[in-house]
């Protein structure tokens, strides 16, 4: 019987699963990856931008010919207060030269490429196959059920994304509750590369990451993003579920309480901002997608292993939602690679016990994955402060109004203007407390 078993079955062809399949294939293991979509990538949504520095050392040379979109040289943040906006834009000359720090990416293309690389290493990748359940043997995970078939394996890797049914079935996952999740909507607009470069002020091949905060979320936790791809733009909103579920009365600081705040309307309002209209003018909507994001940082992790099984990527809760930016792809790749190495060692030792597999958690703790999760553990708390998404953008807007407006009255000094704006919108004591809490992140 033992001989009929595969070395490993991977559930899910996202970045975590594909990275693991690649490494196990490379190690000469018999590995099968099952993906429910038409192709790896066809169910996956990201903002998105991937930072390569943390993961390059894990897969040296691997990303050199990856089909990324554009390397990011320009960072912009727009604070929105109703129809008033404040734009901060930053270009680092260093980001213009290889090795590039980060790239924009479209997952359908990227994941398919990743999957081809993994197959070249000998991994079996089967799309259009949903895993329905885990296969148990003597109280330990011993494979999966898919499409009415039993697939026995020494090891199972759950890399099935943020909703992870596999981690749930193995009683490893934290319950899915609104306070730990955000919902994101995203639109892809086709646009000629020349127009993209002109509108964003970029040289050919260069990319921009533009984030939006403030009243785009009507005061709720979250923010907007606009990324440049080769021939398209990715535009979207990330919205904390908990805040969305509450009635609009609680967010009437902006006096917008009576407006509609269902998710599709928030997206429509976002698109109708002149600051967005200028970029997407004449562009053609190609796709409308949505996905959830796990946002509780290190506090929201699932248990990472049990007898015969490991959990990686979003399935394990390895994602950081910092309101305006989300990080998860590097964690997915890194946890997939680390999981594969531990599975490889377990196969060598023929030991699939939870005790041996605890090595996986140990390795993750030594890596940037758990270290970053820990560092940003407080982010969720700090960012939950509604002032960050309501009054601060309004405060900055009034301050700049005071600085740049010349009216009939004599001008106040800058310090007076700043204090007036702070007092009016935040209260000095609150501002001081917020300053203290920001030092935590």
């Amino acid at each position: 019987m033992a001989d009929d078993k595969l070395d490993a079955v991977i559930v899910g062809g996202g970045l975590a699963g594909l990275a693991a399949a690649y490494c196990l294939g490379e190690a000469g293991r018999q590995v099968l990856l099952l993906e429910r979509g038409d192709e790896p990538g066809s169910k996956n949504v990201t903002g998105g931008r991937i930072y390569l520095s943390p993961i390059r050392p894990l897969l040296p040379g691997f990303f050199d010919d990856a089909p990324f979109e554009r390397h990011v040289v320009k960072e912009a943040l727009t604070m929105v207060d109703g129809r008033n906006t404040t734009l901060l834009s930053h270009v680092q000359d260093r980001w213009r030269h290889p090795p590039y720090m980060s790239y924009t990416v479209l997952r359908a293309r990227f994941d398919q490429w990743f999957s081809t690389r993994a197959m070249e290493k000998g991994a079996f990748i089967v799309p259009r196959r949903r895993v329905d359940d885990l296969l148990w043997e003597d109280g330990r995970v011993a494979g999966v059920h898919a499409g009415g078939e039993e697939i026995p394996a020494h090891m199972v890797l759950a890399a099935d994304g943020a909703l992870s049914f596999m981690a749930e079935k193995a009683h490893l996952r934290q319950p899915l509750v609104p306070s730990r999740h955000a919902v994101a909507v995203k639109e892809v607009y086709g646009l000629d590369p020349g127009a993209i470069e002109e509108r964003f002020g970029l040289d050919p091949g260069e990319g921009a990451a533009h984030l939006f905060m403030g009243s785009v979320t009507k005061g709720r936790f979250g923010g907007g993003f606009l990324y440049t791809n080769k021939e398209s733009l990715s535009l979207g909103l990330v919205l904390g579920m908990d805040d969305l579920m509450r009635g609009s009365e609680e967010f009437d600081v902006l006096k917008q309480g009576s407006e509609q705040f269902d998710v599709p309307s928030l997206m429509e309002d976002f698109e109708s901002l002149p600051e967005i209209g200028r970029y997407i003018k004449g562009a053609d909507l190609k796709e409308y997608s949505a996905h959830i994001i796990t946002e509780a940082g290190a506090g929201g992790l699932s248990r990472l292993f049990t007898d015969g099984m490991l959990v990686a990527g979003d399935a394990a809760g390895f994602a950081l939602n910092m309101g305006v930016t989300v990080r998860g792809m590097e964690f997915a790749v890194a946890s997939g690679v680390i999981a594969a190495r531990v599975i490889d060692e377990a196969l060598t030792k023929n030991d699939f016990s939870a005790q041996f597999l605890s090595l996986y958690e140990k390795r993750l703790r030594e890596s940037f994955v758990m270290k970053d999760m820990e560092t940003f553990r407080h982010t969720a708390e700090v960012l939950a402060n509604p002032r960050l998404f309501t009054v601060y953008p309004a405060c900055i807007s009034s301050l700049l109004e005071a600085v740049f407006t010349i009216g009939e009255d004599p001008r106040k000094g800058l310090y007076r203007s700043a204090m007036d704006a702070t007092k009016k919108h935040v209260g000095v004591w609150n501002a001081f407390k917020d300053f203290l809490s920001l030092r935590k992140i």
Binding site: G41, T46, A108, L176, V183, K286, Y288
Partner: protein
């Protein structure tokens, strides 16, 4: 000027399964006051039928985000992924 979500959904590639992957327990829905599913579904696929008063979800446009599964804290929503190869197929993602 902006496009409504109903039209946005027509841009997606979707292979529809015959059966819905989302089932609701109407006895629970009847007791639900806030109905967060209606506001939070990014596809605006949830609505209350004017004739029967029952909750309806148009699963054919589903983006498979799972939001309704999470925000329905009364647990009326039974939600699973569509069978392999069915449902939305993102060409960009």
């Amino acid at each position: 000027m902006t496009m409504k979500v109903e039209e946005k959904l027509t841009r997606n590639a979707i292979k529809n399964a015959k059966e819905s992957h989302i089932r609701l327990d109407q006895t629970i829905c009847r007791t639900c006051v806030e109905r967060p599913c209606i506001r939070l579904c990014p596809g605006r696929l949830y609505s209350q039928s004017e004739e029967t008063g029952e909750m309806v979800v148009e699963f054919a446009g589903c983006l498979e985000c799972g939001t309704c599964k999470i925000v329905c804290v009364r647990k009326s929503v039974s939600w699973e992924y569509p069978e392999g190869g069915f449902g939305v197929q993102y060409r960009y993602g």
